[in-house]
């Protein structure tokens, strides 16, 4: 089915949820509110006309200063049996960055959501293992946000002092030359 | 005076065997290298002939790292136990007619006992290292050696029954008197079980689980370095030489060959030993590695019944003929 038709069907089914339908280079995005995202995606997955069984990609986008809702969570769906794709973009406001997790629909969404949380700070409610994934667990800030500076934060990583202390303790061992020289 | 002669013989045997071991590593690298379309060692000496010496010098002068938290006495003792037990087996092995340090009547049993003791070194190394990989490697090794020792012992029972002796010299002479000239043909089942068990006993591919590098890094000697590591390697290769020798003595007719070679009384024995060692390397270049449970299943469900069947068949045939 053409993606535009799918989007229209979705709009009919969830009139209050679908905010806009955007098309670019033949790819169609449905922009939805975040409240019933789980229902919308479940409908897309199980509906026999859509049958979107493959979650190709899930990621966050930061529209700082460009849009009213700062964040978007983007779901790229594909139907392997019917060979059509559709993009669903859920709006997430800055002051309350949370959305329901879709791990109950696709187990593969697990790590995508953890990554989005890690880099954007968007909280996925109902996620079974909601931790940072790519960055250390004690990292501060969310690097892919637009207001996070490219060279990294000015402050030193707080574990740095600890490492320095540890290296001082190791100083009594000599790692380089023959014993007794250092 | 007799004591001094024995000492000289012992020294000579150990020296010759260690030389063989050193060049077995070279031989292995060359054989596997050529099987894998590469050259093997080429840099040290002509065609890399001095490579074993360079390896030895390197290992000898390497820093000996003892990780924190190891059980020191056991950690130090483990490689020595392995090597000493392996070398002790040499005492009962005849390298030519009459050339044996201790011509004892239960030579075969003694060699078994010593190869079991050698596995203590492996188990203790795994236990003392305070490393999980080494620990798993030690566990695997103990289970593996125990199960395959049974199969190996049983596979040789047929030989003992045929020869009527446990003395290795007698076994060789009995083969000369045999119709086929060697036990590999009448005892084909026993020979097969023995060869498989021999690979497992010396922890070689496809049974190199205790040290399998893909999952256990290096198995029981993960934490060893420098000379202690070299001792383990020595013990492994000495074990290989001994197993090859037993195979040559018990199944392939020992020092007897189709014709006599003047001045070299053990020419045929050496050829047979070298062939068996080559066989080890050939297997290593060809086969993947078994999984732990598959290895156990093979040992208990295939090899031991086969060996038992061999004993029964040998017994029946022997009764029937006599």
């Amino acid at each position: 089915m053409e993606p535009l038709e799918l989007a229209e069907i979705l709009k009919k089914r969830f009139p209050g949820e679908v905010v806009d339908i955007v098309s670019h280079r033949g790819q169609v995005s449905v922009i939805v509110k975040r409240e019933r995202i789980l229902e919308i995606l479940e409908n897309l997955r199980d509906d026999p006309t859509a049958l979107m069984n493959h979650l190709m990609d899930l990621c966050g986008v930061d529209y700082l200063g460009k849009k009213e809702n700062r964040f978007e969570v983007v779901y790229n769906l594909y139907s392997i049996p019917l060979r059509h794709s559709l993009r669903v973009r859920a709006l997430v406001p800055e002051d309350d960055p949370r959305i329901s997790s879709v791990t109950s629909l696709w187990r593969g969404a697990d790590w995508h959501e953890r990554e989005t949380y890690d880099l954007y700070g968007i909280v996925f409610e109902g996620h079974p293992d909601h931790r940072r994934i790519l960055l250390p667990e004690d990292w501060e800030g969310y690097p892919l946000r637009k207001d996070y500076p490219l060279p990294g934060p000015k402050t030193e990583w707080h574990g740095y002092e600890e490492v320095k202390e540890f290296s001082k303790r190791l100083r009594k061992y000599d790692f380089s030359g023959s014993p007794g020289e250092a | 005076m007799e004591f001094v002669t024995t000492l000289i013989i012992i020294l000579a045997v150990v020296a010759v065997v260690l030389l063989h071991v050193a060049y077995a590593t070279y031989f292995e690298r060359k054989v596997i290298g050529h099987m894998q379309v590469r050259m093997g060692p080429m840099r040290v000496g002509p065609h890399g002939l001095l490579q074993p010496i360079a390896d030895f010098v390197k290992l000898f002068f390497k820093e000996d790292v003892v990780p924190a938290g190891v059980d020191r006495p056991v950690f130090y003792a483990a490689p020595i136990i392995s090597l000493v037990a392996s070398l002790s087996s040499l005492a009962a092995v005849p390298f030519a007619r009459g050339l044996v340090i201790a011509d004892i009547n239960i030579g075969l049993l003694y060699i078994f006992a010593m190869s079991s003791v050698a596995s203590y070194g492996v188990v203790l190394a795994g236990w003392a290292s305070n490393s999980k990989y080494a620990f798993l490697g030690g566990l695997r090794s103990s289970a593996q050696v125990i199960s395959y020792e049974i199969a190996m012992g049983l596979s040789l029972v047929g030989v003992m029954m045929s020869a009527g002796s446990l003395n290795l010299t007698d076994i060789v002479e009995a083969q000369k008197a045999d119709f086929f000239g060697c036990y590999a043909i009448p005892q084909i089942l026993g020979f097969f079980v023995f060869v498989v068990a021999m690979l497992a006993e010396t922890n070689r591919t496809p049974f190199d689980l205790p040290e399998c590098e893909s999952e256990l890094v290096a198995g029981y000697f993960t934490e060893y370095s420098g000379f202690r590591f070299a001792l383990f390697m020595l013990a492994e290769y000495v074990g290989m030489v001994i197993m090859s020798t037993i195979a040559a003595l018990c199944f392939l007719g020992g020092w007897h060959g189709p014709f006599d070679v003047p001045y070299i009384p053990n020419f045929w024995l050496l050829i047979k030993i070298y062939f068996m060692i080559f066989f080890y390397f050939w297997i290593r270049a060809t086969l993947p590695r078994y999984r732990y449970d598959q290895l156990m299943r093979l040992g208990w469900k295939v090899l031991i019944p086969l060996a038992l069947a061999n004993i029964v068949v040998t017994g029946i045939v022997k009764t029937f003929i006599s």
Binding site: N53, C59, I80, P143 | Q36, G69, Y133, S214, R291
Partner: protein
Amino acid sequence: MDTTRMKPVLEEEGELFTLQMGPQHPATHGVLKLDLELDGETVVRCRPVVGFLHRGVEKLAENMTYAQSMPLTDRLDYISAMANNVGHTVAVETLLGIEPPIRAKYIRTMVCEMSRISSHLLWLATHALDIGAMTVFLYCFREREWILDLFEELCGARLTTSYTRIGGVRQDVTGHFLESLLRFTDEFPEKVHEYETLIDTNRIWLDRTQGIGVLTAEEAVQLGLTGPSLRGSGVDYDIRKHRPYDAYPYLDFQVPLGTHGDVYDRYRCRMEEFHQSNHLIRQCIEKLPSGPILSEDAPDLVMDPRPKCVTADASLSAGLIKIIEERKHFMEGDVYVSTEVPKGELGFYFVSDGRGIPMRMHIRSPSYIHIGSLPALCEGGMISDVIANIGSLDVVLGECDR
């Protein structure tokens, strides 16, 4: 520090034994770390830990032009850099609406398939080595060397190729290159047969791979597996057929499928892909059309985000001109374009705000999802199967951590 050192080897939490496998471990193919909880040799729980190689490629790309961010993709899956380059370029071309010339399409398809062969060779080498078959490793490297030499001849680099340009490719192929490649395709099927003689029907190999790490078709789709790892379970999903890009619609090839979804079927799928890729390369060489290799619309490498337009404006009196600072150079919008790289589906999600710099570049890397599915494969199996499973998914950590 001293207290942890003196801990006994067995941590007695029930009967479980925790093994931290990696990040420095010979069989984890890079810096993957697995927290394994073992009951004897059986894996009770497996938790992959990734991120040791995180370089922030997505953040870096948001501060570069599209053309500048292409070399970053070399460093994702460094084993098949060509395929990544093509994936990035196809996505950018879709976003900017640039159509590359047909010759460039064929060349790209050709190098893509070459990199598929080279990547699968490395996979087979390491997978076999993990299971203990050492000789296959060196045989595979012999042929891989040949392909890398060809890459060197084509673009001067063996691994980090950076070969494509937005709207085409950087250099044209030479006659000598095509000849060598043709000779390679002549000899390669025999070499594949040589690997197969070593392991394909080997009893030990079958014991180690058949019935191990089984995934049904539904489970595999649920987990988001793609590429040969998905097709081993019998799901017909190949982006080259489903959403064809470059020259794939004009070429003839089959998609090998497995049936059982175990390690062996995934292995067979990749072995068949050797033949298919070889066939594709031959077709590309035979059909290679002449013509330009770079589109006329191709933007220059700088992709200046703020070009200044000088125009005569009717509202002003004659002779006067108006300088407009044209910021918006391209169309606004977003696209998700994925390509079939050797590991699976490599997707790029671009959001453009009209400048020459992407507002957002998200990389959907197959290895990341594949590693995420490791617990589903490994739990309940033996510790040796963990190694076989990692090998059968064909993961690269550079791509996983980005």
